[in-house]
């Protein structure tokens, strides 16, 4: 088969027994909608770059995935988002990191690629740039979902339980080498 568009919505511990048929159907519905969105653009002769951006919008706008709306929370209770995009024709690339108020970070990444001389912008600077070039901003509360908030509370509780319990674990956590499987959404 010759494929035109492929997507993912994150990998990790996806326990089949914990997945209800309704939830599974919801995931399949959004993934299908994303594929249809990108395929329609390509079928009409559109650019791969446009198809990628529009397809990712569908996934970013869904609370089911760990990106934009539905993103996980940092230790201090914020949603910090990263995104990047690359054009295989020109090898141009753009990325944003640690942004908190950009509705669709993939669009901001594309703006960095196309409207700046830089490759990656982070934090407040990235947000200011996005505002200057007309990327849609939202209040950070837009990204909140109860499931992700509850996941942070569980993670914080686990942290406090582990504190003082195992020095090796604490050192590994500092080095970023403890895999709590919390990151894939």
């Amino acid at each position: 088969k010759q494929y035109t568009l492929v997507i993912h919505g994150g990998a990790g511990t996806i326990v089949k027994t914990a997945m209800t048929s309704a939830k599974e159907a919801a995931y399949e519905e959004v993934l299908t909608k994303a594929l249809q969105t990108g395929y329609h653009i390509l079928q009409e002769g559109g650019a791969a770059l446009d198809a990628v951006e529009a397809t990712i919008h569908v996934l970013e706008d869904s609370p089911l995935f760990n990106a934009a709306k539905g993103a996980v929370f940092t230790n201090n209770g914020r949603n910090e988002l990263d995104a990047s995009i690359m054009d295989g024709r020109t090898l141009n690339a753009g990325a944003v990191a640690g942004v908190t108020n950009i509705r669709n970070p993939i669009t901001a990444a594309r703006a960095v690629m196309e409207k700046s001389e830089h490759v990656m912008l982070s934090g407040k600077g990235a947000e200011n740039f996005a505002q200057q070039v007309g990327v849609t901003l939202v209040d950070p509360s837009y990204f909140y979902t109860q499931d992700r908030w509850d996941a942070l509370q569980r993670a914080l509780k686990k942290d406090s339980t582990a504190a003082g319990e195992n020095v090796d674990n604490r050192q590994a956590a500092k080095a970023g080498t403890v895999n709590r499987d919390d990151k894939f959404g």
Binding site: K1, Q2, Y3, T4, L5, V6, I7, H8, G9, G10, A11, G12, T13, I14, V15, K16, E24, Y27, E28, L31, A34, L35, G38, Y39, G45, G46, A47, A48, L49, A51, V52, I56, E60, N66, A68, T74, E80, L81, D82, A83, S84, I85, M86, D87, G88, R89, A93, A95, N104, A109, M120, A151, L156, D159, G176, N179, R180, K183, F184, G185
Partner: protein
């Protein structure tokens, strides 16, 4: 994390990735898939790649670019190159998955976790969506 790779009618490839990172992250950690060359890469001469998983390992192994390099320098297929690089990640203790689409429309979707939300559409509009292995 979500991602997409595409091949248009003009033969151009593109890749994009967007993520919320990891729950409970500190220190302004930037990781995960969006670092160019690590989690996202596209080159019309070889492949477009978007990754998801334990970001530190994808950065250390420059996963997305490594797949493109194996295809360019060793003439590996997209499936072979993606599998080889995911094996490096797994052998180092990392996990996750990726999607890759080459310039001929061949794709690979390897992962070493219990599941990966994923899907593909072929040039006739036939859609496949999968979650588990």
């Amino acid at each position: 994390t979500v991602g997409c790779v595409a091949l248009d009618q003009q033969g151009n490839l593109a890749a994009g990735t967007s993520t919320g990172g990891m729950t409970n992250k500190k220190f302004g950690r930037i990781g995960d898939s969006p670092v160019i060359g690590a989690g996202t890469y596209a080159n019309n001469e070889s492949v477009a790649v978007s990754c998801t998983g334990w970001g530190e390992f994808y950065i250390r192994h420059v996963v997305a670019h490594d797949i493109a390099a194996l295809m360019s320098y060793k003439q590996l297929s997209v499936e072979e190159a993606a599998a080889a690089v995911m094996a490096k990640v797994a052998n180092a203790g990392g996990d996750g998955g990726l999607i890759a689409l080459d310039k001929a429309g061949n794709m690979a979707m390897p992962f070493n976790t219990e599941g990966m939300y994923r899907g593909a559409v072929d040039r006739h509009g036939n859609i496949e969506v999968k979650i588990y292995k």
